[in-house]
Symmetry: C2
Subunit: 193 residues, 2 copies
């Protein structure tokens, strides 16, 4: 069993906690403003908006050393819904990895809405979480947690693929904001015909 800490109690944090709990894993759920409680998990999910990341990561850098840190953000400019707030040749995940050189940073969960994580399905498909990162063991450990919680997990490649995952998340958010899809829908992944 894994021990998963989740910082952020919004709909994404709650949905991820629910998945880990279904799988029988130990879950620590921390408010984003709780800087006093040490993270106890080996996997730490930063389930907060991109705008809150820098402060949390700076304050908790020592406590996150040696752990797997999961970035779920979509660094969208929510005023315009028309661009990301990271340079076009970078990603939120790359920025977080640069801030946490002693942690293993993974990108995951940003291409699935909270509703489809909690439900375990997107339409007729099992919800698939795409995971990017440079540490195969860390990706496998997170994938095992998700599989035990009833989801599919797919290795999307190295951490630099976070740029493409963030583009998927961005596109999906614009589709929902423009009512082309519902917040309980979105992209599903079909692995076979």
């Amino acid at each position: 069993m894994a021990h998963v800490s989740i910082i952020g109690t919004g709909n994404m944090g709650q949905a991820i906690a629910s998945v880990a709990g279904k799988g029988g894993h130990t879950v620590q759920l921390l408010g984003r403003d709780d800087a006093a409680t040490a993270v106890t998990g080996d996997i730490v999910v930063l389930a907060v908006p991109y705008s809150a990341i820098s402060q949390i990561v700076t304050a908790r850098a020592a406590g996150l050393a040696g752990k797997t840190v999961v970035d779920i953000t979509n660094p969208l400019d929510f005023e315009t819904f028309d661009s990301l707030m990271v340079p076009t040749d970078s990603s939120a995940a790359a920025e977080i990895a640069a801030m946490l050189p002693d942690s293993v940073v993974l990108k995951a969960f940003n291409t699935t809405f909270a509703g489809t994580l909690a439900a375990g399905s997107v339409g007729p498909l099992t919800t698939t979480v795409l995971i990017a990162g440079d540490d195969a063991a860390a990706k496998s450990e997170l994938a095992a947690v998700l599989a035990s919680g009833g989801l599919k997990a797919v290795d999307a490649g190295p951490l630099r693929r976070a740029r493409e995952l963030e583009a998927v998340g961005f596109l999906q958010l614009t589709l929902a904001a423009n009512e082309k899809i519902s917040w309980t829908g979105g992209f599903g992944l079909v692995d076979q015909a």
Copy 2:
């Protein structure tokens, strides 16, 4: 009924021709090296690899004036499968639009494999074609052709969203090349729960 010209007789060109044909539209299918035959369609699909675009567009610029030109490319570096061949703040579609100032350029089809276009489905879902462009009427006309051919079409926003569509296509190609998904699978779009 629309009149659709398709330049390129590979698996994507054939699949798009099949969809348009199913919808009862007139289809002109031209080989990519055929520079002599004039395009007769109001919608012209450039169903060729990105590396072949520049030569075709340059040779046919006058004939494409006043028409809707559909870019379906994924400008992937196929040697490395690790980056796109367009600047990170641009897209193949933006480059083509710059080369064709007298045409209406749309981005479409690059997020669906040929197999799912031809089949009309990706797993249990109807295949969805995402269309980006700055001309609402042109997008609607293409969407109507696709709907009559049995597919779903979703307006993905302005032509600058092609950057995100190309990221989706890039990611999907890497997933298939790494055998995480099959070439008859890929991303499907669920609009409702």
